[in-house]
């Protein structure tokens, strides 16, 4: 039981549990807060995978920016709480849960029993090297410049779009 394993189990447990809590709370604000916790624990998982840059970005972008946006909107709109989770048409909901679970079983089956991963041999040094800001930054601005530019246009479109759709008055 190395530290890494302990950390993995802690973060895994937290993320799994917060995910479940997130989708079962009736109050949207509580759901959002648990999602923040979930994202934070994911950042922890990324650290156990030696992905330092992504872990930090996860905290800054997801927990720090996106979820704050969610919370702002939630507070702005103040939607009323939903009724009990399985209140309306519970049959359909249960059916939905079951089929979603079947998808999970299928993916798990692929991961475990089809043994698709036998040719992956973990290499610690490469793994650590891959996760550094330097490695990612170099790749990002050389090889992946086209996606990077595209991402720029994406954000431009999203900013304009958010403005058009949500601005109160427009002339």
């Amino acid at each position: 039981m190395t530290l890494q394993i302990v950390l993995f189990f802690i973060f895994a447990a937290v993320s799994a549990v917060t995910a479940v809590i997130m989708i079962t709370r009736t109050n949207a604000v509580i759901s959002a807060l648990f999602l923040v916790l979930n994202f934070a624990s994911l950042a922890g998982l990324y650290l156990t995978l030696n992905a330092q840059f992504i872990a930090v970005t996860q905290i800054i972008v997801y927990a720090g920016a996106i979820m704050v946006l969610f919370l702002f909107v939630l507070m702005l709109l103040r939607p009323e709480n939903e009724k009990k989770i399985l209140d309306m048409k519970p049959k359909l909901q249960i059916f939905a849960m079951i089929i979603a679970f079947i998808v999970f079983i299928q993916i798990a089956y692929i991961i475990f029993f089809a043994q698709p991963l036998q040719n992956i041999s973990p290499d610690l040094t490469n793994s650590i090297k891959a996760g550094t800001i330097e490695a990612i930054g170099r790749e990002l601005f050389t090889k992946y410049i086209v996606p990077f530019e595209a991402a720029g246009f994406l954000l431009l479109a999203a900013a304009i779009g958010a403005l058009v759709l949500a601005k109160k008055k427009f002339e």
């Binding site: 939905a96 089929i99 299928q106 993916i107 089956y109």
Partner: protein, 692 residues
Amino acid sequence: MTETGIINISLAILFLPLLGFIVTLLLGKKIKSIYLFEVFILTVTLFAAIFVAFIKLSYYVDDRIIAEIQWFKLSETISIKLGFLIDNMTVIMLFVVALISALVHYFSIAYMKDDPRYNRYFAYLGIFTFSMNGIVLTNNILMMYIFWELVGLSSYLLIGFWFEKKSASDAGKKAFIVNRVGDIGMFAGILILFLTYNTFSFESIFHSIAAGKLPFNSDFWLTMTGILLFMGAIGKSAQFPLHVWLPDAMEGPTPVSALIHAATMVAAGVYLTIRIFGLLTADAMMFIAIIGMLSAFIPATIALTQNDIKKVLAYSTVSQLGYMVMALGIGAYKFTFFHLVAHAFFKACLFLGSGSVIYAMHHEQDIRNMGGLRKKLPLTYATFLIATLAISGIPLTSGFHSKDGILASSFAFGSLTGNWIFAIVGFLVALMTAFYMFRLVIITFHGQPRDQHKYEHAKESPFVMVMPLIVLAGLSIFIFYTPNPLNADEGWFISKWLPAPVLSAPNNTRFDFMQETAGAVTHNPSHGTITYSESYTEAMHGAHNPAMILALVLALSGMLLAYIFYQWKKINVDKLTQAIKPLYTFSLNKWYFDELYDKTFVAGTIGFSKLIGWFDAKIVDGIINGAGNLTRLLSVFTGAFDRIVIDGIVNFAAYLSGFIGLIFRRIQTGKVQTYLILVIFSIIILLFLFND
């Protein structure tokens, strides 16, 4: 001038009218006088056609010029080609179409002057000329079908040109629908040919047939293919039993009737049959001959009693087309084409002449209100008379030669096969034609005016209207076709310009006299072997003089009868009609074909049963009941046609869609999550599919 030159000019002849159509249609609303452009274009086309005809007939008289380009490939082996076939028939037809079209354009300048949609009218004439030239020029049956439909479309547009008039728009629709019936058959025939030979080109199809490849490997299907293709001609050339649309088509402007419904488009059916002549078997030809015979006979009897000047001419057109089709069916290939050309000129002349009369009489079409117009419209009268002499087959006219040839062929056919019915009907029709045409002339132009008021206002039409009449009447003189006023067989039209048909249907399926036997006589070796046997040539030779004399006697007696009845009034016509009233009404009501096909079939039954009662009153009841039931059934069927085709499908589908809607539309609940559940469910299934 090379062959490429001929091809290029032919391309110009094809596309110039299209240009005229586009320009006239697009600028029609902006520029009032744009129709002059269309007229100009047609004049250019006419000169080009004359030029091509001259070059071809003088220097390339023995050549068949074929130009093909690949349109697109369907697969490695099958490619669809566009192409021209320019032989003598093509250039003659091009000339006929261009000439009549140009003359009709000139005529229309005055005739249509006050119409609000003047420019559009000329645009339609342009698209018609384009499509008709396409039919004439093509070397494959697919293009022919495309242009065929285009011609049908422009005909529909022009019949219904005055669509404010209900009868006109109805007539347009009727023409369109009736033509579709024929076209379905033609399309099926084309499909059979294409599936069998993987090509649309006439040439290649004939080659394959001659090489022994038959549709479904059976003679029967070759016959069927011929008959199916001929069905297109039945529709377009208004043959029995689809002839009903042509008289109604007279609702269109009269120049249009002259161009489309007398001279060119209706001849397209005959032209098609001439083009596919090579693949016709004896059975198919018999079928064609019988259809032609019925179409020659029935409308001729109807024309005897009609009082609308255009209706008489319309029925006479159907009758003459039937004549041509019958002639083709009995193997008179060259004379059919001869009659086609001759008929195009004199019938166009007659129609334009009637247009001139109608114009002078301020759109009066009933001949009972005319009379004595000879003095008022001298030029119209003279040209009309020449054309009438031609259609009646009086010597010195083109009609005399072409008719004589057909009648002689029917004689020869009778003596060789024993089927004299075609000869008998042919002579009967010749008699009736002379009678009703002279009846028309006498009532219209001779005697005393019946409507004094209109008579006084009538005056000769302007030059642009008379000039076409003179040209067309001139072309009805024999000298353009043969130097010998009594026998056209040696004239250039028959002996030099027209090659004998190339027959490719297997020998055992042909008429005995059309075998390529060792004894085949070659009249004119440069045109390939004449494919008729020696006995046929002999029979033709023997039939020539008796047929000519008999035809002449009949034509003259028809003429004489008309004079006795209507000019000298030796016999009281009214009394005569009283005496044969049932027959008279039967003819007057056009054999009740319209009623037969339309909803009011029951009314027709009563007339029909009266006719029977005239023969034998005792069996009336039984037949009435039988026919009544049958006709009720038929009328339900035909009456339902409209509803089934248009409303019926819609209604049926409304039920069906309501039913389907109940089942399927419910999936679309409008709720995102039900959509997603379906998605996830499908993902499960797909993952299962790929997990094995």
